[in-house]
């Protein structure tokens, strides 16, 4: 009836797309089973060069990529 209103994408389909992505990311979770072991190994490797004071590993998942971000904090001198 009012075609000029229909140019905008219908909000139900926007909701569907957003939900699919949000739920996919919820389902993947932020943990991987080997994270604690990985943490220990990285500390061992870096220790050869410098003392590590803190290490943080996060899983970063987007629509098509799955990655881990590692942040290593070094001991101050």
């Amino acid at each position: 009836m009012f075609p000029w209103f229909n140019k905008k994408k219908k909000s139900a389909s926007v909701a569907k797309d957003r939900l699919k992505i949000a739920i996919m990311s919820d389902r993947t979770g932020h943990e991987l089973p080997f994270m604690e072991d990985l943490k220990r190994d990285i500390i061992e490797v870096i220790k050869k060069y410098k003392e590590v004071s803190n290490i943080e590993i996060r899983r970063v998942s987007h629509e098509e990529t799955d990655a881990i971000a590692i942040e290593v904090e070094l001991e101050e001198h």
């Binding site: 219908k10 909000s11 139900a12 909701a15």
Partner: protein, 270 residues
Amino acid sequence: MSKVIAVISGKGGVGKTTTTANVGLGIAMNRRQCVVVDFDIGQRNLDMILGLENRVVYDMVQVMDGEAKLEQALIRSKAHSNLHFLPASQTKDKSVLDSEKIRQLLDDLRQRFEYVILDAPAGIESGFEHTIEFADEAIIVVNPEVSSIRDSDRAIGILDSKSRKVLEGGEVKKHLIINRIDPEMVERGEMLSHTDILEILSIDLLGMVPEDRNVIDASNQGHPIILDEQSEAGQAYRRIAKRLCGEQTPLVVPQVRKKGLVGKLKGLFG
């Protein structure tokens, strides 16, 4: 064979307790012995929806703790003699729940009833986990709205990882009820349709309940809407109850009511 069915949603306020009351009453109307149990410790509400708040003497926590007998705590519904109700404790909090005691209570209820329906608390905390722990099946209630759908998926995730049946290698059968559908908004593309929701959640559809103002009126009076044969929501719950009792009934998608001229004008102005 009796079964324990947990009614869950994740998000609160989507009609979980209303669904429990109506589904329970509907099952009773289908000549099955049924009990509805309020697992929302500290926030008892099912008694109001069923119109039984003045009859509560003992609650399920007192039964689990041996302070009252099950027969003393069970309340027979005024609406149908096949329906019984076991109230939640209003004074204690959910930390009183204990797996072994819940298992015992549910075993006792299984002896007496064919259908044991548990109204879960909102959220996915310990009270929720205790409700799903010994469930054979689950009814997931959602509204066609983003936060409800997303939260229900989290609740389903916990159901599929923490219930005893799953931990023992089995599966908890899941049924979806989409509640408060506004067919006009769906038609305009402003509300998720049932096919959209099924695509996202991929679980079996048990029924669709249209938005119906009569539901509030029914709650006000403590007469579940299923008793109103004229109301659309009531009819939807009747079909849902039949399906749960093993009867094949077609799924009915809520339709836009064709309005006459007066109705159209009313719609425009009010």
